[in-house]
Symmetry: C2
Subunit: 207 residues, 2 copies
DNA sequence: AAATAAATCCCGGAAAACAGGGGTTTTGTC
DNA sequence: GACAAAACCCCTGTTTTCCGGGATTTATTT
């Protein structure tokens, strides 16, 4: 019996997943969690074999959560569930130890297939994910930049349309500091203007 | 018996919805459709009382689809289902004739409540939606701006990080023209810098 | 305790965007 | 065909961002 935990913040989705998984005799859903914190708590008591993990969670990103889970419990397999087929997101999840990546527009049995595949030690990507990765060589694929708390804060204010000066005023720091952060953000994202940073950040759900 | 049709492109979500709706004796799910085209076809043969409609569909937006459905079949009630609680999206759906707006992170019974409420002629907004609308008076609420082909083209190039001059070169128009479009975009979005335009456009799925 | 990363601050010149006016020519719709 | 809307073009001055260097102080992490 494969024990599966579901991490997903949309109750309707959870309902659908549980329904699908119940239909398979070899799988047992041992719990569902709506955010990262609750699943980390639950893992301290008992561990499932597989975690089906939504990439977009209210309190943390699936990318981070996946990394944390794999750091502490390396034997737990993680399958990422996502509505996004953006390469950097997929790439980051896999780099953080996910064994599978299934898009939410997948059919129910694709998830069951994924669970069995990764329990056999394989890596499972759904067809659309494979498609999305195909025309990009893994080497050049850039992961989602790791940005600091402060950078994120500034990024959000930039996204709101504030100018450097307004941000400086609001955070009680100098405009020079804001400009430094802006510069660092552009560098981390590999672009040369703030607009692109905001666009990418918004694609990567960093805003 | 209330006949409900489900328009939603994520099979797992469909599964969850049907499961929830089945649990209520007064509701009958009379069909599910993965895109706008198939539901419009199906409506020609028979009409449900209520359509649960995802706002993000592969072939069209829920906003457009809702408008089309209501134009042809004004008696069908539409409940929008969405992961977004952005005011303009909500507002646009309601303006296009939706009778309800429920976020996907809602509980299952909230959807059943919504169905009964709108069958009683009420308008139903889930709590988070109400929250999102609260601190904005409906009058000032701006809908998603209607942008022209050309503006969209320019918006995308801006999003790619090109400067006004690069865009002008690429489209064989003068920088002045590009600046005019940029200006118009800012005005339509009600913001005063391009970064915000890009952020909003990306939120509204216009990029 | 040492090393790394984060956050802060600083400068000046160049490049770009913004603001706020003006006007003409297509294109589409009633 | 009339009318409106879109797309196009032009100008000047101001503000803001970008780029290229710096440096210092505080966390973290090892």
């Amino acid at each position: 019996m494969i024990k599966v935990a579901v991490v997903e913040d949309h109750p309707i989705m959870v309902e659908g997943l549980k329904n699908i998984l119940r239909s398979d005799a070899g799988i047992q859903v041992c719990g569902d969690y709506g955010d990262g914190k609750s699943v980390l708590q639950a893992l301290e008591k008992s561990q499932p074999d597989v975690i089906l993990m939504d990439v977009n969670l209210p309190d943390t990103s699936g990318v981070n959560l996946c990394g944390e889970v794999k750091k502490k419990y390396e034997d737990i397999k993680v399958i990422a569930l996502s509505i996004h087929d953006e390469q950097p997101v997929i790439h980051s999840m896999l780099q953080n130890g996910a064994s599978g990546y299934v898009l939410k527009n997948a059919l129910g049995n694709e998830i069951i297939r994924a669970i069995y595949a990764i329990m056999d030690g394989e890596e499972y990507l759904c067809s659309s994910t494979k498609e999305a990765l195909k025309n990009a060589d893994m080497e050049l694929l850039k992961a989602i930049p790791r940005i600091t708390r402060r950078e994120k804060e500034i990024l959000q204010l930039i996204g709101k349309g504030l100018t450097t000066m307004q941000i400086a005023d609001q955070l009680f720091i100098s405009t020079h500091t804001v400009e430094s952060h802006r510069k660092n953000l552009m560098e981390k994202f590999g672009v040369n203007n703030t607009t692109s940073v905001v666009k990418l950040a918004s694609e990567y759900k960093l805003l």
